[in-house]
Symmetry: C2
Subunit: 383 residues, 2 copies
């Protein structure tokens, strides 16, 4: 159930003292091989954190031997000093493990615009290296939490090989509520092209379709590591299916733990002309604060859904839209449908289906409602 379930991996999660709360804040995941194949997807935010800049370079040769991840500070908007701190962290881990710094990926999450306390972090690296174990996955998943209320792990088991994963945050690659960090491990034998293609396919249909609050982090990172320790070569589609399943599992865990959310909202856009247009419409709805407030208030306010759909350039007839909320078709042909009082929004799960009646394509976006707790958490976070 963790990144250490697949053979060839060790992990640790310890307390370096970066967080005022004294909770665990430093995780280390090591790939002991025999292979060290890696692939990654990073935030598309142009203002990217130092560890993202560093890890992009590390991934250039598709080899990663270890990933060091800290919570308690994003090391973003920290200039040259921030990049040097990331570099020093990688060198420290490399020195402790007898590896090359150029094979150590670094991830950070926390407040933007503050330098990390490097004395604490480097001492923490020593503790983490000493704590590495083949059963350390759960500790690692705990150490990367920030505003998460639960740690997130997932597992896909096949015949003789597996994929494990851990995640933190309530966000996504583009956009993200808070930084999302994900480490995926597999003992399958995979070459770097297959791993990269499988990861891109998996993230594009999972994390990329979570749109919790429309904000994009400077630090989002998903790294996949393949050790080959099972000795079993997995064809591209098998690996893609496994990674997609683990990513979908983790993505839903992120949605269910989004900051301050009271409802998890699945938005299905169907009968669209193209999948891209279905996604555009889904995101427009997911980013409407008025819609999100209505769901919080258990108000099946379908007019706000139509108003959001109307802002897009997708193909549809503005007089021919249908909308169902939790199974009740409250809007037919862009007008009043079944009785909105039949809609029950008391449960956490909400299911919106929008029929564009313009084609055969479909897509799903996941989001959350906009609540008092969201405002509270995000107005008090750094103070």
């Amino acid at each position: 159930m963790s990144v250490t379930h697949p053979a060839g991996f060790r992990a640790a999660g310890i307390t370096a003292g970066l967080k005022a709360s004294g909770k665990p804040d430093l995780a280390l995941v090591v790939n002991d091989g025999p292979q060290h194949t890696a692939a990654a997807v990073f935030t598309s935010n142009r203002v990217e954190a130092a560890p993202v800049t560093w890890s992009r370079q590390v991934l250039a040769d598709a080899r990663v031997d270890a990933v060091i991840l800290n919570s308690g500070g994003a090391n973003a908007c920290t200039g040259h000093q921030g990049f040097q701190d990331t570099h020093r962290t990688a060198e420290k881990v490399a020195e402790l493990l007898g590896l090359s710094a150029g094979d150590i990926a670094v991830c950070s999450t926390g407040l933007i615009g503050e330098l990390l306390p490097m004395d604490l972090l480097l001492a923490g690296c020593e503790s983490a290296a000493a704590a590495l174990s083949a059963s350390g996955g759960a500790d690692a998943a705990t150490a990367i939490m920030t505003t998460d209320t639960v740690s997130k792990q997932a597992l896909y088991e096949a015949d003789g090989w597996s994929v494990g994963g851990m995640a933190k945050g309530a966000g996504m690659l583009a956009p993200g509520l808070a930084t999302m960090l994900v480490v995926l491990t597999t003992d399958a034998v995979a070459d770097s092209e297959d791993l990269a293609a499988a990861l891109r396919a998996a993230t594009s249909r999972t994390f990329d379709r979570v749109d919790s609050d429309g904000c994009m982090s400077t630090n989002d990172t998903v790294i996949a590591l393949a050790s080959g320790a099972s000795g079993i070569p997995v064809p591209g589609h098998g690996l893609e299916r496994a990674l997609t399943e683990v990513c979908a599992d983790l993505a839903l865990q992120l949605v269910r733990d989004a900051e301050g959310a009271a409802h998890d909202i699945r938005i299905d856009i169907v009968s669209a002309a193209t999948e891209a247009e279905a996604l555009e419409v889904g995101r427009a709805i997911a980013r409407s604060n008025l819609f999100k407030c209505a769901i919080f208030g258990r108000d099946p306010n379908w007019g706000r859904i139509l108003a959001a759909v109307g802002t897009t350039s997708a193909a549809f007839d503005p007089t021919a839209l249908d909308v169902a909320i939790n199974g009740v078709t409250v809007c037919r042909a862009s007008g009043v449908g079944d009785d909105r009082n039949l809609v029950d929004l008391s449960a956490r799960d909400v299911h919106i289906v929008v029929h564009l009646n313009a084609g055969e394509a479909a897509a799903t976006i996941w989001t959350n409602d906009l609540t008092h707790d969201y405002v509270h958490e995000n107005s008090a976070y750094s103070t």
Copy 2:
């Protein structure tokens, strides 16, 4: 100080009974000429309300004799019946005033997806026509309020002619927090091309640059009426300047009365390569819920500003951004600047300046913070 200040206009605001609260809900503005030149700008939302569809047709010949405006119901997503109701409303007003229905513009605001109570509305038209007076502007401004806490009026006085205006809502043409309705009147002599050009120029630099919550209404409408009653022809630039001043005044009144807001935020994007890019960056910041929550929490969290800037395609060096919050340059060269504890966010007015250091262009966007009251108002509005 109202739409009846310029010569040639009468107005009324009465209670038709459309609102459960029993507050005034129907306004009528009549242009008695001698000219009846008109121009308008409508929502760009493709899902547009019946009165918007109707009024677009009315404006096609650039002549409007009267505008009837109701609160208590948006008449949006109401299908053929909704359009027929708008048509009947225009016919009723035309009949009462001895005019042609094709010269009567209609505006509605309130909940989407409900038919208007036509018996009450048509009876209200009779009361409104009977109440018309050359001093009825203030009543009209009151009757179009929905969640507004104060009525909004503005006046520009020149030598022998003037421009008056009224507005409701806390929104904008694209996008809008809630429906924005604006009626502008002038007794200047203006031909339709000059009036249309002046109105487009005025709205593009005022209402279009208010981005309170990123949501676009189905009903937004700005209508300008010119009576020519002063007998004074005003050259295009003079009219544009006057309309811009009145629109800017009304736009700021909308910002200051935005639903649930605790701060009014002015975002200046300077040293941009182009004005369009400055606007793109300003809107990205104005739509970041994390930024808006931080301002509510009086937290000068400049990292969230940089994260929003980084999502845009504007020209800038991601390592060379400067940000000032209320006069304190908290971010220099995309890193830590002056002490963030020097920033005082206790006042309602907040001033953000972002230096892209990429050119000579600049633009200003106005927005509000994201507060508990916003969530409360918008989760409870229709229930």
